[in-house]
């Protein structure tokens, strides 16, 4: 039994070490107000539940230890099978916990609804996001530019994302900035995020979308607002134009695309994707050098 206690101690120490690792990055180290609010609610809920769970685990271990057969000091009470008082407590503990949590859930779900605009003195930056197989397209309608596999935003400014997909479902997720949202073809979802200070954050898709899914990560650069402005100005007019033809080209299946930008964007392109005026992108193409399709359909 002492060996068991020792191994539990080791497990706890390992757990603490693990958590330290986690707290240096990702969800527990948010860099924006949405992520911070997510983390607060998560830790609050966790604390509420740990207050119940930890004593329960300890009680389990204690009972399991004390009432073992070899312990002659423990009182054997074979007719202790019902106690009204205990039942009341047993039902109340989870119920009260859940009532409390219910309040957190109601308030949190509304305050952190991804479609809810952020409170800010500064007007939001509009970014239109299209998830493709297997890369990300970011369109800046106001700036008239677009970027593939690299998101550049101004720090301290709320960003309003409108998102869609060219083909299959994905989620747009920058863990350090907070909430994710699905991207789906034929409709537009909404997300509001903000980076508090300049920095570089990792972004990815969190919904498996096919063979190239693992390569669907991108960097998010939060620049000071004036630097963002100069980046946008520099990018405008440089490089290819994102028109319908180039979009169709981009939408063909490809993996590990290096980041690049478009110097001009056909107006209304995003809406054309949402309304399916630009039809959904095709899947695996046989004989086009795309990913290997199944052996069985070579003779379809």
């Amino acid at each position: 039994m002492r060996a068991r206690a020792r191994s539990w101690l080791k497990a706890t120490a390992a757990a603490v070490a693990c958590l330290c690792l986690a707290s240096c990055s990702g969800v527990l180290a948010p860099k924006g107000p949405v992520g911070s609010a997510n983390r607060t609610i998560m830790l609050d809920a966790l604390a509420i539940m740990l207050a119940i769970v930890v004593p329960t685990i300890l009680a389990t271990l204690a009972f399991a230890w004390w009432f073992r057969e070899g312990n002659t000091r423990a009182k054997y009470r074979p007719d202790f099978v019902y106690s009204g008082r205990l039942e009341l407590i047993i039902w109340s503990i989870p119920t009260l916990t859940i009532l409390f949590l219910g309040g957190v859930i109601w308030i949190g779900s509304h305050q952190l609804d991804p479609a809810r605009p952020l409170e800010s003195k500064v007007p939001p930056l509009e970014v239109e996001v299209v998830s493709l197989d297997w890369k990300w397209l970011f369109i800046y309608p106001a700036q008239g530019i677009a970027s593939v596999n690299r998101l550049v935003i101004p720090a301290g400014v709320p960003v309003h994302f409108r998102l869609t997909s060219s083909s299959v479902m994905n989620t747009f997720f920058v863990p350090e900035l907070g909430s994710q949202i699905y991207t789906m073809n034929g409709m537009a979802t909404n997300l509001h995020l903000q980076a508090e200070k300049p920095g570089t954050f990792r972004g990815q898709s969190s919904h498996y979308s096919g063979d190239g899914f693992s390569g669907m990560h991108f960097l998010t650069h939060a620049l000071p607002p004036d630097e963002f402005g100069s980046w946008a100005a520099r990018t405008r007019g440089q490089g290819p134009v994102l028109d319908a033809a180039n979009y169709r080209q981009l939408a063909r299946q490809s993996q590990d695309v290096k980041p690049f930008t478009y110097g001009a964007v056909q107006p209304g392109l995003f809406d054309a994707v949402v309304t399916q005026k630009l039809p959904p992108a095709a899947g695996p193409q046989e004989g086009r050098g795309g990913p290997q399709t199944s052996p069985g359909d070579r003779h379809k």
């Binding site: 969800v27 997510n38 859930i105």
Partner: protein, 670 residues
Amino acid sequence: MLGKLTWDAIPWDEPIPLAAGGLVGLVIMGVLGLVTVKGWWPYLWHEWITSVDHKRVGVMYCLLGLVMLVRGFVDAIMMRTQQAIAVNAPGYLTPEHYDQVFSAHGVMMIFFGAMPFIVGLMNFVVPLQLGVRDVAFPTLNSVSFWLTASGALLTNVSLVVGEFARTGWIAYAPLSEPAYSPGVGVDYYLWALQIAGVGTLMSGVNLVTTILKMRAPGMGYLRMPMFVWTSLGANLLIVAAFPILTATLTMLTLDRYLGFHFFTNEAGGNPMMFMSLVWAWGHPEVYILILPAFGVFSEVISTFSGKPLFGYRSMVLATMFITVVAFMVWLHHFFTMGAGGDVNAAFGIATSIIAVGTGVKIYNWLFTMYGGRIRYTTPMLWSVGFLVTWIIGGMTGVLLAVPPADFVLHNSLFLVAHFHNTVIAGTLFGAFAGLTYWFPKAFGFRLHEGWGKAAFWLSITGFLIVFMPMYVLGLAGMTRRLQHITEPSWRPMLLVMLGGVGVMIAGVACQVTQIVVSIRRREELRDWTGDPWDGRSLEWATPSPPPAFNFPVLPDVEGEEVYWGMKQKAIQHQELVPEPDYKAVEMPRNSPTGVVVAFFCSFTGFALIWHIWWMVALSLLGAYITFVVFAWRDHVEYEISAEEIAAVDRRRREARKRWLFEHSEAEGSA
């Protein structure tokens, strides 16, 4: 002639599936050869393959489940090794292959590993605990098993003929639509699940009818053992939820085969509806997995604490509560789809309300242990292990039920850790507790305790080493289903998890060793009394293994904990109840219907996958003819004479008298 099927369907250019397939093929040939050489076919055919005895069907279900659990575990080993190696490197599994591995891992573990094992336990134990001779529809029971086996077969065939789905274990649209998954993989998935799904549904109907309409005289609802109550809940969920899966998979099948537009991107299709429908099945499914495990723990904890279950009525209420609320929470699987604050909050609250039911159960188990005299046999170890680790999974589940938390944890490794936490610590630990608890009843000898304990300690340690770091990685932002990793800071945790897998492999090895060693040393592990654990419910009143007819005379149930009461009365009066009036008993005859129907269904499925239409028609005809042949039988039962029953029962009574004598000697000298 053969539809889409050509020699190219075999993955000649991929060494791993080829080698694996070859190995499995050799093993199968070896087993079949051994059986033939030893002349075991008649025995296997008459005693097992065509058996409609719930005990035999239950054991076969458990065997299928165990084999497929190992198969799914092999996939897990492949995934862990790939992720540990492929940090800024391609690893040894291409994306096409890796994507099949994680999809097959989920499908095999849930549909062909955990579900059959749980159904097998329920099949074996429930009629015995109810004090009756068999389930309501014995031949249907056999058909259900063989259909499940057929689904498992199809899934495994996809390894070497064609491919498996590359969509994940729930084949989300529009990825699973023919536009984005043109191969046969999703078709294998669909037909394997449809065939097995019919089997599971039939099994659900069977057990619900048995529990509600076939119990020993005097066994009112509140005298049923807790395992029966949880089985009732699980089977009600099966009956109510599996049809939704059937409908949804049919819709996807229609999309793929006939160009329908249920879930396509164009022509008005609605991929979100696939999510909603499939999770309306998917959430009740996880309660189907966990409720029988809860039942096992109730039985085990009360038996080995030497006390009745604490708060029985509360437990019944909690079980039914969980069963009902299980249907009200499914949207929590897609909080991030953007349903809005009201909808998300409503489902979040409903999800956390389920925690009330499970919380009540945990406390009732705790207070069952309180004041008990706990014997730490292997089943009890699994149960205490469950109590301590499962609660973490339950807690993270309620955490994920908070939409703002889910917004940053959805589809991350935190989620993966949560559901493995609940399924492994709950269903799997319950499965092993049930296996070691009821094995003596099924086979007449106990499993070796030492190896069992080793299996437990290694498994729980390995489990913690794999899945606790997984929570951390999820919090660090790592998402699931990655074939390669581009974030080097995740590597240490991935390596730790790989180490944990090694410990789990050792645990599995010990489990297998336990079974092998126990079989070889079965004489010294023999259980003569039929009651090796000093049990409390009716299955322990039978000899081990029970005869085909279970009970010579259906027991007269006079209170809760029927068998415990019978024992105490016997101890008090120092004698057994007088011999009953033995009468002849009619039992259902064996039937090859199950295995033959499954044979035809396997070919139907295979033919549908490869578009071999004439084979589809012929196989369906074959299945229909099989049913008609079965329906045309004139002799459906066989009689067991009163003398035979008397002989079996008198042997049991002798063993019981010996036990009573030894028991009172021991008590006298205490």
